[in-house]
Amino acid sequence: MAEILVIAAHPQMEQSRATRALMEAAARLSPARVQVRDLYALYPDYWIDAPAEQAALAEAKLLVWLHPVHWYSMPPLLKLWLDEVFSFGWAYGPGGRALEGKDLWLATSTGGPDSSYRPDGHNRYFFDAFLHPYEQTAALAHMRWLPPLVLHGAHRAGDADLAAHAALFAERLNTWPNWPELADIKADASCDVPADARPAEA
């Protein structure tokens, strides 16, 4: 019964440095505590077994999304996973409380350095600005959104930096939920959908 579920998504895992280092670090932890699911290896044909994914989620108390930032967002298979697994009536909407009270944590990496994610940098916005959809997703699914772990400038990170970052990731997984900062975050920024409005309409 793993209480931590790491959903890893990288469309070219063989070329990945950061995501793979973190995924491997997580895989070395006790399988009784941490289950790692590599989405692109599990579903190369984009045919997601939603019941199996929901079963894995049901066991977990902490859900980790581990992926690189592509076009300011998640890789397409993870988005599909979200569409299929966080379903209406299960994760949200009437009776959709399967994920209530669980934590959602993002571990991600960007190609651009920290300095590019500023109004005067070429990405023009602070990185936090790109995370609003994530935060709101967590809120709609009655989950607690944890402060993300971000590695900027992943292309230029040296081996030592990567190893240190992966060690930090593993350490954080090991110590959850005893993170000092969690004391300040309120349990659930829940937003129930009014009965007369369909949720998630852009």
Partner: protein, 622 residues
């Protein structure tokens, strides 16, 4: 059989004999031809005596051989036939006249009259085209070197039958007189008819077939196909030529036409049944009285001519460069006597060259050798083939001793294996290919792939191909039994290799699954699903929805197979599981349709679904 409708009675007898005996023989691993021969013996004068005039049936059923040669011709474009001219006339003559000379010599030495010895030599030198090509077809060996060599020799025998039948009357001193002059006229007529067939085939047949096809009446096209063969055969017979040869020529002339496949499918069932009838007739015509009267002599004749012919053939196999592993097939199929032997002995009997007693004895010897052939083939498979393969290894070091480093072996390089191989190749991987077609192997080698000719069910060959160090063995052969044999070998001897197997059908899938093969693909599943998708799209379904339906179906189908696998053999349980599975899928889909309707209804109430990620893709989870 005097009362009622005789054809109904005899159909009853022949068909039930075939239906009972052939599956039984196949079950015993003996092949269908032995089944037919056995059925013939069973219903013939020496069995249940249900049929008493085998000769009449033999004449009728000979048309099966004619049809078979027409179909063989269809597979052989003129260009390929032309490239076979040397094996046909050169090696074919070596076989027939070499064997005939040796048998005649042996006969004369044994103190037999030289004319009788010559007739026996010529008659026994012939081989059975029907059994030879039948066995080749049954084992899918037509494309191999041995296959085309057997065909070449068989063709020459068909051609040579004409002058041989002309010579026989000359042997009888009395019958010689009337035939002078007539020979020239006969030859001219024969040439004329052959020219007519070639010209007619080139110029008239295709327009005629086009005209008939345009009438859009399938049974008339079938009738035309039969008529074509019957007419050619009749034309050939009218000038004393081999009907089968004429049909073969007509087939070759149509090999490049657009009607080739159509003709093949139309005539195939007729050929199969008539050929079966022919074998039954051969079985019936074995005169066991003669055999029982002089069992020693018959045995000596059978053994003697088989050995002599085999000697000639072994020499030829070497000269024709038939691969060592294919040599037994080549030798056995041509060493037997053939139906032309019957004709030769009949003619000699008619001309008074040999007596009735001798004729019966020779006919029995030929028929017995025909019965022995399929049995010998089975024996060779079990005993000789593995040893020869080891020999082949020693004999061709350049080809077979190479160290193989490709991490993948592909067994069977037909339509399926080729796609696997080309995908690997395009992705920068090499593979070692094993295939039973020598020609195919030569072709693959030209592309620089390590390819071996041979039967992948042989342990030694797999070993040479490097199976002991391979990571992956792809089993892509056509034949289910061979596929399972390869899997068994690999599981036992090369446990380190992962098996990737092609399943011909569900039963095959189960057999593979039972053996622990993890990567099994049913060969038709994915293409059929793609066609299903096309149909759904044409019915107006959105393309992506159709894709999802197909993938859902695929998942369900694969899950069902896994669920049913443990219940193999328990029919009731299987049906129950299958029924339940189908119900589940139907329920799932109707739930989904319901969901879609509900969504549409909600939209109608003022909600727009754009932006809802769940628009009918997944039902709400339970």
């Amino acid at each position: 059989m005097e009362h009622g409708t005789p054809w109904l009675q005899s159909s009853l007898v022949y068909l039930s004999a075939a239906v009972l005996a052939v599956p039984l023989a196949r079950l015993l691993g003996l092949g269908s031809i032995i089944g037919y021969l056995g059925a013939g013996i069973a219903i013939g004068p020496w069995g249940l005596q249900l049929v008493t005039d085998p000769q009449a049936m033999l004449h009728f059923a000979e048309f099966g051989v004619v049809l078979m040669l027409f179909l063989v011709g269809l597979e052989l474009e003129p260009r390929r036939l032309w490239s076979l001219r040397r094996p046909i006339f050169g090696w074919g003559s070596v076989q027939l006249f070499g064997s005939a000379a040796l048998i005649t010599g042996a006969g004369v030495l044994a103190g037999v009259d030289w004319r009788l010895a010559l007739v026996a030599g010529l008659g026994l030198g012939m081989s059975s085209t029907a059994i030879g090509l039948g066995v080749l077809n049954e084992r899918n060996l037509m494309g191999t070197t041995a296959g085309s060599s057997v065909l070449s020799v068989a063709l020459l025998q068909d051609i040579a039958a004409i002058p041989i039948l002309a010579i026989i009357p000359l042997l009888a001193a009395a019958g010689a007189a009337g035939h002078e002059g007539g020979g020239w006229l006969g030859a001219a007529k024969a040439l004329g008819v052959i020219a007519a067939i070639i010209l007619g085939g080139r110029l008239l047949l295709r327009p005629a077939l086009r005209w008939i096809a345009r009438s859009d009446t399938p049974e008339i096209f079938t009738a035309a196909a039969l008529l074509l063969v019957v007419a050619t055969a009749a034309l050939m017979q009218s000038v004393g030529l081999s009907m089968a040869l004429g049909a073969f020529l007509a087939g070759v002339l149509l090999a490049e036409s657009e009607y080739r496949r159509e003709l093949e499918t139309d005539l195939e069932p007729f050929k199969g049944l008539l050929l079966g009838l022919f074998f039954i007739a051969v079985g019936m015509s074995i005169d066991f009285a003669v055999v029982l009267a002089q069992p020693g002599v018959v045995a000596l004749v059978v053994l003697g001519f088989l050995v002599v012919k085999a000697l000639v053939l072994v020499g030829m196999a070497r000269g024709m460069k038939v691969p060592l592993a294919e040599a037994p097939v080549f030798v056995i199929l041509l060493a037997q006597g053939g139906e032309f032997g019957f004709v030769v002995f009949q003619a000699a009997l008619g001309a008074g060259v040999i007596g009735a007693q001798t004729s019966s004895l020779l006919v029995a010897a030929v028929a017995l050798s025909m019965l022995l052939t399929p049995l010998l083939m089975v024996l060779t498979d079990r005993l000789l083939a593995p040893r020869l393969a080891r020999h082949a290894q020693a004999a061709k070091p350049a080809e077979i001793a190479e160290e193989q480093h490709a991490p993948v072996i592909i067994c069977g390089f037909g339509r399926y294996g080729q796609i696997v191989g080309r995908l690997l190749n395009a992705s920068g991987y090499s593979a070692t290919v094993l295939d039973h077609s020598a020609e195919g192997v030569a072709g693959i080698r030209r592309f620089g792939w390590p390819a071996f000719y041979g039967d992948a069910t042989r342990l030694d060959l797999l070993r040479v191909a490097g199976a002991e160090t391979e990571r992956v063995i792809v089993v892509a052969v056509d034949d289910v039994e061979q596929s399972l044999a390869i899997v068994d070998l690999a599981r036992q001897h090369f446990p380190q290799a992962t098996l990737v197997a092609r399943a011909r059908n569900v039963t095959h899938w189960y057999s593979l699954h039972e053996r622990g093969v993890q990567h099994i693909e049913r060969e038709t599943l994915d293409s059929a699903l793609m066609s299903g998708r096309s149909v759904l799209e044409l019915m107006g379904m959105e393309r992506h929805t159709a894709r999802n339906a197909a993938l859902r179906f695929r998942q369900h189908s694969v899950e069902m197979l896994h669920q049913m696998a443990p219940h193999q053999g328990d029919e009731k349980r299987l049906i129950a599981v299958a029924t339940q599975g189908r119900r589940e899928l139907e329920a799932l889909w109707s739930r989904e349709r319901e969901e879609r309707r509900a969504q549409k209804a909600r939209r109608g109430e003022g909600f727009h679904a754009d932006g809802n990620p769940h628009d009918g893709v997944e039902p709400p989870a339970t």
